[in-house]
């Protein structure tokens, strides 16, 4: 159903970019429409997902965590077990294959936590592209391991010193590079944000998560779950898993944004909870901004959620009430990180730990006959240093 022909999800979406990029977006839209109708392309994508990414990823019943929470049965969708350690690879493979079909030679990407950067660098190595990844200086500092991984994979990492030196600024710089080199370059956006058709493309490539999860949970419990929980940065892992359940009206969909140091401190990244509609990075969507329409600095302990915008389809799903949004703050995420490590032997990405925190909180108030699925979007190896630093303090 969504989006409409102009790239709108209800009131949100569209294309708010410099004229220089408009033809490239039209070209991308045509190429994607073509690819989606080509069974060979779809088979090729499936084949890589199975043999290269390692799909389907397991749906794991977390018995110890369930016992700890004392209520609903908690299942984890193990996107952390994908090659490169997060859901991001589903999208980068799909777009990489699309870029190859379009005859592009170079991939560029923005990255926050570095997971999307690593997944893009990986696909560039696999499919033979030159690759440049833009990353904020602050994120380079806190996700040093991923920077090294990208460089090992043959990707050039460009340090962005502008603004808050995080994901937003990396995306500004990627767009500027794209404006300058638009004809040779494929811009591989890492979330369901950006101008049309990116939110649609990224959702579609991530929707494999939702399809698998629905099948797996029905297999395990005989019916759809009562609740699905995902963390929301730009919204790609969330849209990916929700897309399997949007039609199941009884399934409660919950999005968890980064509460940072607390919603009343102004130091958070809870775009849907605290923002209002605005335009950033090519689409109209909820945005954290001041009274003058200037984008405000945001904060989260997790670099992947540290973003003032959000995908337009999620803005629409907020307004319609289909998805409920809440927050977990830095301390909640750290606690959930430790909890999952100790109860299940799984180190989650700090992004995913936000979803775990809310799932545990919610499960306690639900009967033991009910089920919750958490999208465990990534693994926590990249965050070990951050967590160690926080625990020491």
């Amino acid at each position: 159903m969504f989006p409409n022909e102009n790239g709108y999800y209800g009131a949100y979406g569209g294309r708010y970019v410099p004229e220089t990029l408009m033809s490239a977006l039209e070209e991308l839209q045509a190429a994607y429409r073509d690819a989606r109708a080509d069974q060979r392309f779809l088979d090729q994508f499936d084949d890589y997902l199975r043999h290269y990414v390692g799909r389907p990823s397991p749906l794991y019943f977390a018995a110890n965590l369930t016992r700890h929470a004392g209520g609903a049965r908690i299942f984890l969708k193990r996107e952390d077990l994908n090659h490169t350690g997060a859901h991001k690879i589903n999208n980068t493979l799909g777009q990489g294959l699309l870029a190859r079909r379009m005859g592009k030679r170079r991939l560029i990407a923005e990255t926050g936590a570095g997971q999307h950067g690593v997944a893009t660098a990986t696909v560039a190595a696999l499919l033979g592209f030159d690759c440049t990844v833009f990353m904020g200086a602050e994120d380079i500092r806190r996700q040093a391991q991923n920077v090294f991984r990208m460089r090992l994979l043959g990707t050039e990492v460009v340090e962005v010193e502008a603004g808050s030196k995080t994901l937003k600024d990396a995306m500004n710089e990627a767009i500027r590079y794209w404006v300058t080199n638009v004809e040779q370059t494929y811009y591989l956006i890492g979330s369901v944000a950006g101008p049309h058709p990116y939110p649609q493309i990224v959702r579609d490539f991530q929707s494999v998560i939702g399809r698998e999860t629905r099948r797996q949970v029905v297999e395990a419990t005989g019916r759809p779950p009562d609740c699905v929980v995902a963390c929301v940065g730009g919204g790609s892992n969330a849209m990916g898993i929700y897309s399997g359940f949007l039609a199941d009206r009884d399934v409660r969909l919950v999005g968890v944004e980064a509460g940072g140091l607390g919603l009343d401190t102004g130091r958070h990244a809870a775009t849907l909870s605290k923002g209002r509609p605005g335009v950033l990075h090519g689409s109209l969507s909820y945005l954290l901004q001041d009274d003058d329409g200037q984008v405000v600095p945001v904060h989260s302990i997790s670099a992947g959620l540290d973003y003032p915008g959000v995908g337009p389809e999620l803005s629409h799903l907020k307004d319609t009430g289909r998805v409920l949004f809440t927050t977990a703050d830095d301390a909640d995420a750290l606690d959930a990180f430790m909890l999952l490590a100790r109860t299940e032997g799984i180190l989650p990405a700090l992004e995913s730990a936000h979803a775990v925190a809310v799932a545990v909180r919610t499960a306690g108030s639900m009967p033991s006959s009910s089920t919750i699925v958490v999208n465990l979007s990534g693994r926590g190896d990249k965050d070990v240093e951050t967590v160690a630093r926080e625990v020491r303090q």
Binding site: V17, P18, H281, G293
Partner: protein, 267 residues
């Protein structure tokens, strides 16, 4: 009414057989008081129209020079309300056409209808919104037509004939022709498509065509002059202003206006 000031300026240029110069400065850089003096000084030295940039936190069509100016302007509290006050003051002292260049979000946040009405009221003649392509501009175009502000569109070397026709037919005031694929201030390698782009624009509208992005030197101005009705120069002015410092800013900008105007007049 206000479209008239733009039409009048270009009409005068055509009559005199001259090419126009459109300097861009970031409003509030280094401060609003200096912006006021800059506009008056540049108008006096022969600028034909002036573009006032509204600072934005995420100026993704701009290179480092204008990014930096925007950031400084924002830290000094520059916003649309203060810029409108500035224009109201300027209008008492100059009839030069003034065009506001703003990313879309500050406009959206202010309320497009209120903003455009107030802009028309204080004497803004045109509006350039670099991240609002024609497809998204329908409502804003209707509002600005009603309220008498020209919504000036951009065409780019990548636009292609079909888009250029579509844009040119919806243009008001003049057509802003981007000289290169890149951000503002990138170093003057004009697109091979420049001539084709201008020919296509001219085939679809009688409005003047102004070329901008990456023009810094009198030599470049001289080369481009035969193809355009006017040239837009931004980063070069902002850079001069930075180098000169607050006290010398106006003199430095005036000097650049004069040298560019001289180059435009050379055959």
């Amino acid at each position: 009414m206000s479209t008239d000031r733009i039409a009048l300026a270009f009409g005068g240029l055509r009559e005199r057989g001259e090419k126009g110069l459109i300097p861009f400065v970031t409003a509030g850089y280094p401060d609003l008081e200096t912006t006021e003096r800059l506009v008056l000084g540049m108008a006096e030295s022969g600028a034909d129209l002036i573009e006032l940039g509204v600072p934005f936190s995420d100026p993704l069509a701009d290179g480092p020079v204008i990014q930096h100016a925007s950031q400084i302007a924002l830290t000094r509290g520059t916003n649309l309300a203060r810029i409108l006050e500035l224009v109201a003051r300027l209008r008492k002292r100059t009839a030069i056409p003034l065009v506001l260049m703003s990313y879309y979000n500050p406009i959206l946040s202010y309320g497009p209808e209120t903003l455009i009405a107030k802009a028309a009221g204080v004497g803004i003649d045109g509006l350039i919104i670099p991240d609002l392509p024609v497809e998204e501009a329908g409502d804003i175009l209707a509002l600005s037509d009603t309220l008498g502000v020209a919504l000036i569109p951009l065409v780019a070397p990548t636009s292609g004939a079909r888009r250029i026709a579509f844009i040119a037919e919806r243009a008001r005031g003049f057509v802003y022709c981007v000289s290169l694929t890149g951000v503002t201030g990138s170093g003057g390698r004009y697109s091979d498509q420049l001539t084709t782009m201008l020919d296509t624009v001219r085939a679809h509208t009688d409005l003047p065509a102004a070329i901008g992005f990456g023009i810094a030197e009198p030599g470049q101005a001289r080369n481009l002059a035969p193809r355009a009705d006017a040239l837009i120069v931004g980063s070069a002015f902002v850079k001069r202003i930075t180098e000169a410092g607050v006290n010398q800013a106006v003199a430095a900008a005036q000097e650049l206006v004069q040298s560019l105007k001289r180059a435009l007049a050379e055959k």
